[in-house]
Subunit: 120 residues, 2 copies
Amino acid sequence: MSDFDPNSLKFNDQGLIPAIAQDADSHEVLMMAWMNAEAVSRTLETARVTYWSRSRQAFWVKGETSGNVQELVSLRVDCDRDCLLMLVKQTGPACHTGRRTCFYTDVTGGSEIELMTPME
Amino acid sequence: MSDFDPNSLKFNDQGLIPAIAQDADSHEVLMMAWMNAEAVSRTLETARVTYWSRSRQAFWVKGETSGNVQELVSLRVDCDRDCLLMLVKQTGPACHTGRRTCFYTDVTGGSEIELMTPME
């Protein structure tokens, strides 16, 4: 057991690391977005998942405007320290399209098939 | 339903897209690595998960040397078309350390705790 320092992670040349959100109950993979070291710290401190928005160049507290927040249950680091996995309690849909998960399009058979519709 | 073209994905400035591998049975998130368009095509054609190794700058057929192959069950694209999720049948450990998954270090409480040991 050793202290965890977010700066010990391996960030890309933009100072970001990919963070995968997985539903702690259903185990669905909900989305992948990016964090910088400060976003990792804020997520751990507040238990409210906080990404770094590459398009807005700003912190993005997931659900801050939509209410579809992600409550952190567990944060894990991979063997190379260059990817994060978060188990979360997801309120409402994770996807901005209103679907439960962002990974709603299956392409296994060579065609694009939508697996789910937006939540009510 | 529409035809899927790997070149319609959004790749980063190195021509790569992150690909998350999830165990189709246990739903554990096993690892995240990178693919280029050709790796996506090869994965779909062979059902043998094939990444692009950034360190070796070469195709990386997962398990080709170790035997710890990933058989593709389902390939999904996210809403932004810039991340892939694969459900796979994983033979043996996914992690090069011999652990079942690469995400074996929990840091939720501010300390690093190993959640699992290498498989037999």
